[in-house]
Structure formats: structure tokens, C-alpha cells
Symmetry: C2
Subunit: 250 residues, 2 copies
């Protein structure tokens, strides 16, 4: 091959870029008790579509990328508008750009999807509306577009990530008991964990520290309260600095 | 807040989507010896820009998203056109969409970045051209656009991922010695590892298996050859199925 191969195919100008509409959507997870078993399980809020395509179907909260917003800012603003939620933990998940994403529509849409974990205090901020509803992640009806695939992917990533990171923190308040932390792991991993083994493993790691305080208003032996080591960022962006605008809103 | 909040801000139609050009670029890593120390280090191929903006500067191989290609297919096609490379390990890294990405240019560009690891056989396919050159990842000059930030992020993700996954495989052939595997870990993690400790840890995990063969053409005690457990996919996409088109090309 000669040097022409790399010349000819270089991006040559804006006029060669295909018309693509860019959407930013977010999968928001919170823990709620299962109505059947009472055990904590993964839930997410969805927004009912009030226009075609897929009018009446449930969809992930999202919107078009706005001209004056970077990707994370766009995700945060759309979230607060559609659901009232302002999650602390928000991270880019994946960009979905398959050719068959909206077969009914001639314009191609690429969605950059964020995910958020919210703890109970944050989840309580959600808008009370006929067009916003919480669903159990393992009991979803058919969603608009490819949003079911996106949710399945997010659940898978969350389960994978839970095993080796501090991501559980996104579901908890500043302090928490070992039982609360174990419930988060059980809900995400979809299994029950032996309390004694869990306690031993989590204390052997340096992930959490004893606050010296105990949960008040409970039994005669109130459980200890722990917190995560705050020296470590919850959403680890590595060398990427969250945009100034996003930080100001956070 | 009432239900209008979620209605008003719903995506209302194509005419409200901002004009954004979508590019797909790839960071390709290979291992090569450092000219100074002779130790294996991380290298990546860059393409010289032959047009403004940033004419003459080195940039990541990439191009505009084509109308008939999904994101991964676009990444693969651009890679082979600009560099000749067809990596086995290719995965989506991150979408970069900051407002200040190309200050000289009025049109906004969002780049969806893939990353690839290539082993020596694959790296040898690279086009020999004045406009394609390999650089050490820790010795880069100023790159076009925000590509330096993208490379730094990719290096960071690679280092993080190396600790808990089989990603090292992307740099190796089907079979390899323990010394070769250790060199990959040393190059990515930027440190030296004690051979005996490394051997013990890697064999204690179920990550690799003994092939029963030994490296030929070497000393009187040729080292054993290992392979990764092929039951596990190299790039783990979870519930996402690589597109049919991508699979056909792979």
C-alpha cells in the first residue's frame, strides 16, 4: 500500500459528515423493595412517550444534545427536567449507534447513554407525574426504541462493576450499616450473601471505615455506622476532568 | 412540579436537534521496545493531518461516521484505511463531546473513540507511509484537537483494566510464555514485577492454562507455552451482540 491509502480516506471536510442526530439518555438505578419478596431490588424511572414514534411506550429519560452543553451537562439537565432527579453518581456508559435503532424514522440517531445511581434521599426528589414511573429492572415491558437492550447492558455493567469497585456507594447515604451495604450488593448481584462472610471480606478491604457512631432509634444493640474512604472519587474519571459547567451544577 | 415539566422538555422533533458532526477514532496500542532501555513499552500509531485544522500535526486515526456503518464497523474500516491494521481486540472507549474540542471550527464535533490492542503479528500489517508513524505513549508531542487527552485517558483505562481482566491477551499471540505475559503487564503498568511472584499469582488464578508445549528453538530448557481460557471472550460486551456486519468483517 502506498501513502495515498492514508490520504484519500482522511476526513476531508464537514460536507462529508453524515447527518446524524445526537441524543443523550440516562439509565437511573435505585434500590426499592420487591412487592413480592420485600427484598431490595433494582428499579429505574422511565418516561412515557407522548409523541410518535413509540407514542405511549416507556423510554429512558433523555433528549437531544443542546448546542451549549457538553455531554454530561446535557445528561444532567435532561434528567432534572424529565424526572426531577439530580444524581451524585453519573458516568458515561456507552454510545449506541446501530443502523436499526429507529427503523420507522429515516434520520439516524446515535444515543450517548449515561448511567446514574441514586440513594433513597435522591430518589425521593423524583417528579410525581403520570408520565414518570418506576419499574423493576427485571420486570420491564417492551420499551421504546432499543431502550430495553440499553437497560440490559447497564444492569450487566453494574453487576460486573460491583465486584471490584466502590460503586455500591452510589446507592447509600454518607454513613451506612454493614447490613445496608450487604443489601445493596445482594440487590445488584441478585443473590444472597452470608452476613458473616460479607462482614469479614468488606472489613478486610480498606474500602470502608468505622465512623465511631451507631444507628440511633433502634434496638438495644444499635449497629455501627460506616463510611467509604472519601479520599477516593466515587465516579473515577482518571485523567478526564469533569467540565467546569458540570461541576458547577453538581 | 407538575407533569408539564416532563412534557415540555421531551424531545419534540428532528428540527430541534443541534447540528453535530460525528467522528469515530481509535487509539491503537502495541508493545515495542523502548529505544533507550530496551524494555517493552506502550506505542501507538498516529496519522499526520494533511488539511486544516491542525495541518501537519499528528492525530488519532479516524474519520466521519459513514451512513451505512454502525459505530464499530466505522472504527474498523477507518483503521484499515488509514493504518492497514485489523485488530482482533477492539472495544468502545468513550465519547468525547466537550464544547472546546475544536475552537477554530464553528461546527461541533463529537468523537466516539474505540481502542484496540494489537499483538506483534497484527502490528506488522501497518502501512509503511510518511503519514503514519508509531510513537511511544509516554513521549508524545502536541497532537491535533484534544487527542492528547484521549490518549492519556486510554492509557489510564488500560492500566486500570489490566489489573482485573484478561485484556493483556490483546498484545499476545495464541500461546505465550510466562515471561512474555509478564512483559505485557510490566509495559502497561509501568513497573517491574518480581518473576516468581508473578508466576505464582497468575498460575493461582484460572486465567491461563498450560498448552503442554514448549517454546522451540531456544535454550536447553525451553519455557512452557500457555494460553488463555478461550471459553471467555476477549472483549466482553455482556448482553450487547456485535453487529452482524462487524462480525462478518472481523
Amino acid at each position: 500500500m502506498d501513502t495515498l491509502s492514508s490520504r484519500e480516506e482522511e476526513p476531508v471536510g464537514r460536507q462529508h459528515a453524515q447527518r446524524v442526530d445526537l441524543a443523550v439518555s440516562t439509565v437511573i438505578f435505585a434500590l426499592r423493595p420487591s412487592p413480592e419478596t420485600g427484598r431490595m431490588t433494582l428499579w429505574l424511572p422511565l418516561v412515557r412517550r407522548i409523541r410518535e414514534p413509540y407514542e405511549g411506550r416507556w423510554a429512558l429519560p433523555g433528549g437531544w444534545l443542546a448546542a451549549d452543553q457538553d455531554l454530561e451537562t446535557s445528561a444532567r439537565r435532561t434528567l432534572v427536567r424529565t424526572t426531577g432527579l439530580t444524581p451524585r453518581y453519573l458516568e458515561q456508559l456507552y454510545a449506541f449507534g446501530g443502523l436499526d435503532r429507529s427503523a420507522d424514522d429515516p434520520t439516524r440517531v446515535v444515543s450517548i447513554v449515561y448511567w446514574a445511581l441514586v440513594h433513597p434521599d435522591e430518589a425521593a426528589q423524583a417528579i410525581d407525574s403520570d408520565n414518570v414511573e418506576w419499574f423493576a429492572a427485571d420486570d420491564l415491558s417492551e420499551l421504546a426504541f432499543d431502550h430495553r437492550t440499553i437497560v440490559d447492558y447497564a444492569v450487566w455493567r453494574l453487576r460486573t462493576k460491583m465486584e471490584y469497585s466502590r460503586i455500591a456507594h452510589g446507592f447509600l447515604g454518607e454513613t451506612f450499616t454493614l447490613a445496608q451495604l450487604r443489601q445493596v450488593h445482594e440487590a445488584v448481584r441478585g443473590c444472597s450473601l452470608d452476613p458473616a462472610n460479607f462482614r469479614r471480606q468488606i472489613l478486610a478491604s480498606d474500602a470502608i471505615e468505622d465512623t465511631g457512631q451507631r444507628l440511633t432509634g433502634t434496638s438495644h444493640r444499635p449497629p455501627r455506622l460506616y463510611r467509604y474512604n472519601t479520599a477516593v472519587q466515587l465516579a473515577d474519571h482518571g485523567p478526564l476532568t469533569p467540565s467546569q459547567e458540570s461541576k458547577e451544577q453538581a
